[in-house]
């Protein structure tokens, strides 16, 4: 335990306790908080991992890079598939989705215990939304579980590559472009924030003076300082933006638009070509 930790480890204030008055899962295991949702999450992850190993064993390629849980074949549509023809994928995806969502709810419990905001579980839910859109919502919209990606290291890279070419040129997908913009901008802002804090911590000056100086630095350098609260606000919302446009990027491909080159072949009616 950290030296200040015991003051914060208090029983109660969990979602289960809120609903039923008592919570038998309200305890820690070593450093980790357990809770009902921790038990659900670990259980689902354990089950999924067992099926994952069974499926990999069926294909027999145990190499970490190539081991592959193939998405169901097209013939099965949205129906359950035999275990060796995509059924394993369906079970593993279901287990993983349950594990992810339970993990987010476990974060809610921890936030409630620490009496802090729910920003982390909200952000994690958006990350889960990318998984759910890719593996559940879009396959259902397209009418086939085969639209999900293979669970594999290089296998999912092959899926990304093929999906890009299937819709002609993914670089011309405007939501893909916004997503790339979001990823690179978060990386740049992250470098600026990290550089600022690592640049000014533990000097011989009073840290409050140092932080005020940091505002002056950014005003000198680029004309505006967003402030020490503001930079985290910006980073949070840039990450939200990136995840939302990434969701749209893949959700609209194949469902609404099937050719991102053709997508741009329009002109305003009053402009002659």
């Amino acid at each position: 335990m950290l030296e200040f930790e015991s003051a914060y480890r208090k029983p109660g204030n969990t979602l289960l306790g809120l609903l039923f008055g008592r919570d038998p899962f309200d305890f820690w295991a070593g450093r980790l908080y357990v809770g009902l949702w921790g038990a659900v999450s670990v259980g689902a992850a354990f089950l999924g991992t067992i099926y994952l190993f069974l499926a990999v064993g069926q294909y027999g390629d145990w190499d970490l890079w190539r081991a592959n849980i193939h998405a169901p074949f097209r013939a099965f549509g949205l129906h359950p598939a035999p275990f060796d023809q995509g059924g394993a994928w369906q079970i593993v995806v279901a287990c993983a989705t349950v594990a992810f969502i339970a993990w987010a709810l476990r974060e809610v419990d921890i936030c409630r215990k620490l009496e802090m905001g729910f920003h982390v579980p909200i952000m994690f839910s958006l990350a889960i939304s990318a998984w759910v859109v890719l593996q559940i919502i879009r396959p259902i919209w397209m009418g086939c579980w085969c639209e999900g990606f293979d669970l594999s290291f290089t296998g999912h890279l092959t899926w990304v590559s093929n999906t890009g070419f299937r819709y002609m040129n993914f670089y011309l997908n405007p939501f893909h472009a916004l997503g790339v913009l979001g990823f690179f901008t978060t990386a740049m802002i992250l470098a600026m924030h990290g550089s600022a804090i690592l640049g000014i911590y533990n000097t011989d000056k009073d840290p409050v003076t140092e932080e005020a100086n940091a505002d002056n630095f950014w005003r000198d350098y680029v004309g505006y300082s967003i402030g020490e609260y503001g930079i985290h606000f910006l980073g949070f919302w840039l990450a939200v933006f990136t995840l939302v446009v990434s969701d749209l990027c893949i959700l609209l491909s194949g469902t609404v638009f099937t050719d991102w080159v053709q997508f741009w072949q329009w002109h305003l009616p009053w402009i002659s070509q």
Partner: protein, 346 residues
Amino acid sequence: MATVIAPLPPVQIPADSELDHSDPAGIRLGFPFRIELLGRLGLDTQFGTVWLGTWGLLSVMLGGMAALVYVWAGLTLTGGDMWTFIREFANVQLLPPNGLGAAPSLAEGGFWQIEMLLLAFSTICWAGRCYERLVRYSWRPYLLFAWLSAMLLTATIFVFRPLLMGTWSEAPALGWLGDLDWAQNFSVLWGNLYYNPWHMLAIFFLFGSTMLWGMHGATILATAAEGSHHEAAEIKDMHSGSHKAMLFWRWTMAWNANPKTIHDWIWWYSVGVVLASAIGIISTGTVTTDWYVWGVDHGIVEQYGPMSRDKINLLPNAKPLDLTVVGLPAPPNTTAGANAAQGAAK
């Protein structure tokens, strides 16, 4: 609460008079004005002033000239009609010339070379501006090294790799769609970049950077009511906001950073993007001409079907630098080099 991090030796703060007035362009431009609406979101409301400085002046002038040359080039390429230029703005591309010499004409790479020179020096001058502001404020030079890392990736794409490949035409064209087309074609020409391990690592850092902003930004916003956003102060002396931020992750994933080390993580993740990218770019077409074949040979990807090792010569007119004089093997993108490499592989 005791100090968490062992303090570094204190840095000396130069007096205002020592540096400001040695710079003939050392003035602050404009007057500060406020946009109060931003304060409603918790953002700083003050805009300006901005430091001019010799390096900043040079950087902005060179960048401005690059913008003017772009308009000149775009107008030239679209037949001098401003309306056509505006309408076709996304399609205008300044293409790099063939070979490593000077371009035969403005339209055949000359515009690209002028732009590259202006932008290169503008970027270098901005590094000078970064350096002199860091010195003025006595910051440790993390920001300069982050900027230099970004410059390294740009220079790798636009200068170092074209030099190794023997033609400027290996660099991206300048234009809205120019870089998108280059990225698409680059992957296709060199056998699918997804199987380039450095590209994998770069994407890991890139997505990781967004993830870390999600985690760090969310953690600080969630505990900002207790002052965790005063990070320099919290590194010296932690309070309940940082306690909660640390305990949240410790209870969630059995491990946590602290107010100082989270910034080590985020700095290295963001810099890792450009460093890994630079290695991935410089090795494409030089170390291997086909990342899919490379991946199959190294056992990281299934062989999905028939696979050709007969690489067509993509750059018949390129004259790569003769690396044998410095003891390096000939690059395999020439016909002779490719045959030699194949012979060695067999």
